[in-house]
Structure formats: structure tokens, C-alpha cells
């Protein structure tokens, strides 16, 4: 049993890190009242930028390349998400539609530029991806050490730490209170002197940065190159984690960890006795079926922020 856990847990953490980052982005955006179906596109952008930057600067930056790559991906993701913010906050576009457009646009731009710059449908493999490390001392602890601290990606820890930071920001700071207020009752927030548009812009841009981070981490830990099929559904999975986690940063993290766990099960199932006989399709669809069940109230009701999806128009009731 311990051996099984020792093989599942690192894989689960490895698969969930990109989902956690992106889902946290989704929490910020949706808490401010902007639905973000575009998470998928933001991840595509992040993956594309992360890989391209890594390929271009690996010679110069050496071992620091992946870290700087993800920072650049955060910046480009944030900038890219401004399109979604402008459309859905200022231009009062249907937020779901705008998000769908973001998804098309990111993939279009990513693959277009890949073909333009590399002359083929996919980039080369990066030479400086993230590598696993053993945490000194901690990895020597019996049982727990190999489970949580041996051959781990530092980005997995970063994801978990970031979830707590997001929770702190959203629930323990005035900024977080304002952001949530804007998503629950924008008119009341506006009356209290909070700029609804500004808060929503900030929230969407944060979600863009985190989506970019999630995409680049996925690309630099799991995929190692960029093509049409690098990001297929991870963004939607992150969106599901947001809802499954009831729009709460720690809930979203938990949901993302669970999805990562489910994914890792379908990867390592062959080596686990009682799972080897389960047809893989059931493990593949499990996260989605569970999300539907969760939404249907079997795992507790999930209430969206009240003003989620509604453009705020000053002066209307």
C-alpha cells in the first residue's frame, strides 16, 4: 500500500500543479464576476510562450531558463487576458462567448507563429525543462520522505504555496474583500466607492498571469514542446476544479489535486493490482463524471458568486 502511494502521490502532484495554478486564476476571475472559459486559451498562450522563450534563451540563461520562461509566460498571459477583460468588462460582451473566442485566438496565434518561426507544426523539444529534485533532509524521512519529498518538481510546491497565498489575499486583505464584493453585488460595491471595472480588470489580468503560469508549467514539466495538441482540455479541467472547489482557492486546489490524482491513476493503474482490471476509460472520465455529480448536489451545493457572468452597467438596477 505504501509503495502504491509512493508511486501515485508524486505523479498526482506532478499532474495537478498546472491545474492548480490555472484554477487559482479562474477563482480570481470568477470571484470578481467574470466567467473565464478562456482559461484553456490562457494556458495555450502560457505553454507557447514558455516553450518559445525556453528554446530561444536556453544557451544564454542555462539552468535558470525554465524559471525565467515561466515568468515571461505569466507576463504574456496577463497581457493576453486583457483582451478578455476589455471585451467582457468594457464592451459588455457575453463573457462565455468572449472566453470561447480567447480559446480560438490563443491556439490560432500559437500554432500560426510556431509554423511561421519554426516552419513546422510543432516546436523542437526544449533543452532546459524543469527537472525533479530531492529535497535535502526531508526526503530521507522514512515513508513520508519518498512520498512527498523525493524526485518532486519544485513547481508542485509552488502551486500549493500559491493556493494559500491566494486564499490569504482573497479572504484576509481589503483587496480580496473588494474583489469578492464586486463579484457578489457590484452595485453595492460601486456605491461604496469601489471601482467595479478596475477590480474586474485586475482580477482578469491576475487570472491571465496564473493561466499563463499553469500553461508554461505544464509545457515545461509534462509536454516539453508546443504543438496544436499540447494543451487539450487542461484549461477546462481547471475550470471544473474552480467549480468543484466552490470558487474557493483551497477548494480549487483540493479539486485540482483530486483531478491530478485521477489522471495519475489512469497513468500508473497498470502497476496497481486492483486497478489494473478497471478499463482505463472509467478512470479517464472519472473527473468529469464526478464534477457533474458534485454540481448536481451529491457532494454539497456549489453556489457561484452571485454576479458571475453579468456585465456591470453603471446606473442600472
Amino acid at each position: 500500500m505504501i509503495e502504491i502511494l509512493q508511486s501515485i502521490i508524486p505523479t498526482a502532484l506532478f499532474y495537478s500543479a498546472p491545474l492548480i495554478f490555472t484554477a487559482l486564476g479562474g477563482v480570481f476571475s470568477e470571484r470578481s464576476g467574470v466567467v473565464n472559459i478562456g482559461l484553456e486559451g490562457l494556458m495555450v498562450m502560457g505553454a507557447f510562450v514558455g516553450i518559445v522563450f525556453n528554446l530561444a534563451f536556453a544557451d544564454v540563461l542555462g539552468a535558470w531558463t525554465p524559471w525565467i520562461s515561466i515568468i515571461i509566460a505569466i507576463i504574456i498571459g496577463a497581457l493576453f487576458s486583457i483582451i478578455h477583460a476589455v471585451a467582457s468588462v468594457s464592451f459588455r460582451a457575453n463573457q462565455v462567448v468572449s472566453g470561447v473566442a480567447i480559446n480560438f485566438l490563443a491556439l490560432g496565434i500559437g500554432v500560426f507563429l510556431t509554423k511561421q518561426w519554426y516552419g513546422k507544426g510543432q516546436t523542437d523539444m526544449v533543452s532546459e525543462p524543469f527537472y525533479t529534485t530531492n529535497i535535502p533532509l526531508l526526503s530521507d524521512i522514512p515513508i513520508i520522505g519518498p512520498m512527498f519529498f523525493k524526485s518532486m518538481y519544485l513547481t508542485s510546491y509552488l502551486a500549493i504555496i500559491l493556493a494559500f497565498i491566494a486564499w490569504y489575499i482573497l479572504y484576509k486583505t481589503p483587496f480580496g474583500l473588494r474583489l469578492r464584493a464586486v463579484g457578489e453585488h457590484p452595485m453595492a460595491a460601486d456605491t461604496n466607492g469601489i471601482s467595479v471595472y478596475k477590480m474586474r480588470y485586475i482580477a482578469v489580468i491576475i487570472s491571465g498571469g496564473l493561466g499563463g503560469l499553469g500553461g508554461s508549467v505544464f509545457a515545461l514539466t509534462i509536454a516539453s514542446n508546443f504543438s496544436q495538441s499540447t494543451i487539450v482540455g487542461q484549461g477546462f479541467m481547471a475550470l471544473a476544479a474552480v467549480i468543484f472547489g466552490k470558487w474557493h482557492p483551497l477548494g480549487a486546489m483540493g479539486a485540482a489535486l483530486f483531478f491530478g490524482f485521477a489522471q495519475s491513476l489512469s497513468v500508473v493503474s497498470a502497476s496497481i493490482p486492483f486497478l489494473a482490471d478497471v478499463p482505463q476509460v472509467f478512470l479517464l472520465i472519472a473527473p468529469y463524471v464526478l464534477t457533474i455529480l458534485a454540481l448536481a448536489g451529491f457532494i454539497g451545493r456549489a453556489d457561484a458568486p452571485r454576479a458571475n457572468g453579468e456585465p456591470y452597467i453603471k446606473g442600472t438596477r
Binding site: R92, N94, V97, F104, V111, L239
Partner: protein, 348 residues
């Protein structure tokens, strides 16, 4: 009223023009000749009988997925699940095409009805959850898409074939392919599905505009509470709307299964027919006639894109960027409307 109507017709046209201009600018920046690029696009879509046939072939499922999204939109529902509904419809159509042996006048309708039913079931689940438990249909339909994708792959691998990635060809008696249509279009894959698609558009128009069912569906879309107060069964209408939408998308899948390919294959990702259907519906103003026009535009863009790399050295993805921008522009119609009204005022 007349200006409003005019503006709602102008918005999609302006959006398309803006999208194409943006595409031209992107081509200029990336060092391609936009005139050559668009000439290649035009030739790729309408250059000869073959490309024309292929454009029609590509338009056919877009009409169905466009209708599927538009129909749900009319009752205030956002059907992102057309993608999954297409896949189950495709699978069901091919399954019947392979498993049943019957004369054409039974076999083909049976395959089509099964595909529509499969899509309808895929629409029923989110409809039911929305109606009875208030679960947002967007999320459920997204989840249903993945369930469709993985289940379909598993069924193809384990039930329809023995660990293969593509099924056998369906029996001729279930096929929509037509030698006559192929012969007049230099052997394109054009098939009779286009007629069914146009017929479906007429049916949607008829249901929405000429029946009390359609009236109720629209009423629920406009104001759920008022409809309830007026004595309509809101839950029933939500479910019905998703079921009909799902059936349209399922038929769209059948077009691919019975017409274009005659098989179904394991897929690594989505077909994008359903997602493109969202764009088609939006551009078509969620109106049956508009959907047909928008589907033709998208069919032509997607088909013509194939010619762009060889004709002008432009990657095909340019068309995806253009489509994304068109959706963004249509979605941001508030600002276009504002600009148009402003322009008009100043003209006076």
C-alpha cells in the same frame, strides 16, 4: 425599430469585414502578401467544382452545430456541448450503419434517427440538471464533451473494432455519399447531407416561428419568471430545448459518419465542429437563415484555408485567428452598436 433591425444585420457584416482586415494586417506584419493570401483562400474555397463540393461538404455539419447552439440560445441556454453531441451522433450513426442490414429506405433513416437520439440524450442530461437542480449548463456540457470523447474512443477500440483506431466502412444502404454529386464535383466528398441540413434549418425556423412550442421556448429565453407566471412549464421547456439542440448536433455528427467519412476513428482531441458551431450561431444571430449563411462563410474559410500554405505561404491557422476575432467582434457588438449610433447622430 427599423434602425435596430438594420444594426443587427450590420453587426455581423461589419464583424466579418473587421476580421478579414485584421487577417490582412497580420499577413502584412508576418511578411506575406494579403492579396495573394486571400486569393488563395478564395481559390481554395470556390476555385473549381472540386473545392466548391468540398466547401459544401464542410458547410453541412456547421449548419447542424450552428442550429444546435442557436436553438438552445433561443431559450436562454448556452450549449457548449454541441461538440460531445456531435461525437455521440457520429458514433451512433456509424454503429447503426455497421450493425444493421436493411434496405436503404429503412437503414438510412434509422441511422439518422439513432444519431439524433444519441445527441438528444447528450443534451438531455445538462437540460435535466439545469431544469431540476439549477446546475449551470455550460459546465455540465463541457464535462459531457469529455465523457463523449473518451467513451467514444473506448467503444471504437473495444466494441466496434478489435483494438483498431478506425472502424470498417458502413454499409452502402446507410451511406449519404452520392456518386452523382461526386461526379459533378470532380470527386469531392460532397454528399446528400446538405439537403438534410437545409431541411433542418427550415424545421428550426418553423418550430421557433410557427408553433406554440417555439413560442414557449422563446418566452422562457426572454424571461423565465414571466413564462412561469404565464403558466408555462419552464423545466419542460429547458429540457426540450436542450434535447432538440442535441438532436441537431447529433445529426451533424451523422453527416460526418454517414456522408464524409463513412467510418468513425479514435480521436486525440475534439472535432471542433461543435465549438465552431458557437461561432456560426453567434454570427448568424441565432436565426435559422443566418446560421445557414454563417455556416457557408465558415465552411468556405476553413476549406479555403487549406490552399493558403501552398498558394501564399500563409499558415492555415490564420483562418482560426480571423474566426476568433470575428467572434470577439460580434460578442462586443455593444461597442459596434454604440459606434454606429454615434456615427449616425453625427451625420445628421
Amino acid at each position: 425599430m427599423t434602425t435596430n433591425r438594420l444594426i443587427s444585420i450590420l453587426i455581423p457584416i461589419i464583424s466579418v469585414i473587421l476580421g478579414l482586415i485584421a487577417g490582412a494586417i497580420i499577413m502584412l506584419i508576418s511578411g506575406h502578401n494579403p492579396i495573394e493570401g486571400y486569393a488563395a483562400l478564395w481559390n481554395g474555397a470556390f476555385g473549381d467544382q472540386y473545392t466548391l463540393g468540398e466547401t459544401i461538404r464542410r458547410t453541412t455539419p456547421y449548419i447542424f452545430t450552428g442550429l444546435a447552439v442557436a436553438f438552445a440560445f433561443r431559450s436562454g441556454l448556452f450549449n457548449i456541448g454541441a461538440e460531445g453531441q456531435v461525437m455521440v451522433g457520429w458514433l451512433a450513426a456509424v454503429w447503426v450503419g455497421l450493425a444493421v442490414d436493411a434496405p436503404m429506405y429503412i437503414h438510412l433513416p434509422l441511422a439518422l434517427i439513432t444519431a439524433a437520439a444519441a445527441g438528444a440524450v447528450w443534451g438531455f442530461v445538462p437540460g435535466l440538471l439545469k431544469a431540476k437542480l439549477g446546475v449551470h449548463e455550460v459546465i455540465v456540457t463541457i464535462m459531457m464533451n469529455y465523457i463523449a470523447l473518451y467513451s467514444m474512443n473506448a467503444i471504437i477500440r473495444n466494441v466496434l473494432t478489435e483494438k483498431k483506431t478506425t472502424t470498417a466502412e458502413i454499409h452502402g444502404s446507410a451511406s449519404l455519399a452520392s456518386e452523382w454529386l461526386q461526379s459533378i464535383t470532380y470527386f469531392s466528398r460532397m454528399h446528400y447531407g446538405i439537403l438534410i441540413a437545409l431541411f433542418a434549418a427550415i424545421i428550426m425556423w418553423f418550430i421557433i416561428q410557427r408553433t406554440s412550442i417555439g413560442y414557449e421556448l422563446k418566452a422562457v429565453g426572454f424571461n423565465r419568471h414571466a413564462s412561469k407566471y404565464a403558466g408555462m412549464n419552464v423545466s419542460k421547456n429547458i429540457i426540450l430545448s436542450m434535447v432538440i439542440a442535441g438532436a441537431f448536433a447529433g445529426l451533424g455528427g451523422a453527416m460526418e459518419g454517414l456522408g464524409t467519412y463513412g467510418t468513425v476513428s479514435v480521436m486525440s482531441g475534439f472535432t471542433n465542429l461543435g465549438f465552431d458551431g458557437i461561432a456560426v450561431a453567434l454570427l448568424g444571430g441565432n436565426n435559422a437563415f443566418g446560421v445557414v449563411l454563417a455556416a457557408i462563410l465558415f465552411g468556405a474559410l476553413k476549406e479555403g484555408a487549406g490552399q493558403m500554405p501552398t498558394g501564399a505561404g500563409v499558415p492555415t491557422e490564420l483562418v482560426d485567428i480571423i474566426i476568433a476575432l470575428i467572434i470577439l467582434f460580434v460578442a462586443s457588438s455593444y461597442i459596434i452598436r454604440w459606434a454606429l449610433l454615434r456615427f449616425k447622430k453625427e451625420g445628421k
